[in-house]
Symmetry: C2
Subunit: 218 residues, 2 copies
Amino acid sequence: MDNFAKFCKMTVFERAGDRVIVLLSSGNLAGTQAVVSVLTQRCADGASAANLLGARTMFDVVSLVADAMRDIEKRDAGYLAENNIRFNASFIVGGQIRGEPIRLFRIYAEGNFIEAGIDTPFFQTGETKYGKPILDRVLTQHTPLADATKCVLVSFDSTMRSNLSVGMPIDLICYERDSLEVQWRRRFDEGDPYFTTLSQQWGEGVRQVFRDLPDLRW
Amino acid sequence: MDNFAKFCKMTVFERAGDRVIVLLSSGNLAGTQAVVSVLTQRCADGASAANLLGARTMFDVVSLVADAMRDIEKRDAGYLAENNIRFNASFIVGGQIRGEPIRLFRIYAEGNFIEAGIDTPFFQTGETKYGKPILDRVLTQHTPLADATKCVLVSFDSTMRSNLSVGMPIDLICYERDSLEVQWRRRFDEGDPYFTTLSQQWGEGVRQVFRDLPDLRW
């Protein structure tokens, strides 16, 4: 906590009209950065079979991300283990490739992964618990994009209030199905007027709801 | 998760007019039950120097609870370690002994402990994170007992919604400073009318606050 810095946890692989792939990372920063660098290099090497921009499906994309995680893990884990450090990088991978529906995956540190579905329309990674109750209350497969956007920000607000090591900026992408390009992207920095308003209005509203609750009659 | 049962996590050592001591436990059930049994036996053996009902201060009480934890840990930890199980019992100990102010402690699994103060007026144990944001928003040293009571119940409601392994009943004691006896104790079981009302009104209120938040203008 005394050696902190900001790092962007979001990486976009995009070929407008063909695919949008978004990676969100959590865990060991050296590990997740190495994974992203490997994936980026493999994209630059267009011929590579491990090129995310050439993968046929989102399932193949996620498998390639998992492969890169395991490559880095193989390289580093032994050295980390000597100091009792676990290689604990993990990723959320979401996006769409032309011809497929939009898909969302969560890759565990071990490289195996799950896909979101109708019953579980969202994933979180990193410091997940403080911000989960509001997501559980609001998000369903029918939630409009505008509401989902607000909900994610309120969730981050709760997390940042309860865990000082989580802080601004928040990098947000809102991807609209079948657009096949990133139309809405926004970074919220410390003091962002919209986020500040949201945070204050939410806090005051919640405290008012609390005040209106009936007292317990023993 | 397929072998679940209910166990009371709250134990009261009381001598009306002299002291009220409340233990809340979390972690390895065999461990916490053994600690409580040892403490109860030592109270029954009135002459024991490790008798909570004879301890001079709350600090001494907490030290005795920590000693009992370490006794059990010494007995079991080796056998648990053979199966890679950690002895992870921990306790919150609160109460008052005549002549002292009311005091509140949190004992870690290792047996060391911290005391609550003006800046940190509450402790949680067990599945703490889902329910913490509302406590962080509402509780201060000036919060009236009635509000603190509501707040704890709303916090448990959030936790139970997000972690299926946390469930009713909730055992609640509300201790009024200098009363030196337990006047208000209540168990909330599945379907409790007050808790159900609280949960519904809270959920609807929070969703309404959410609906009233301004949309993001990209």
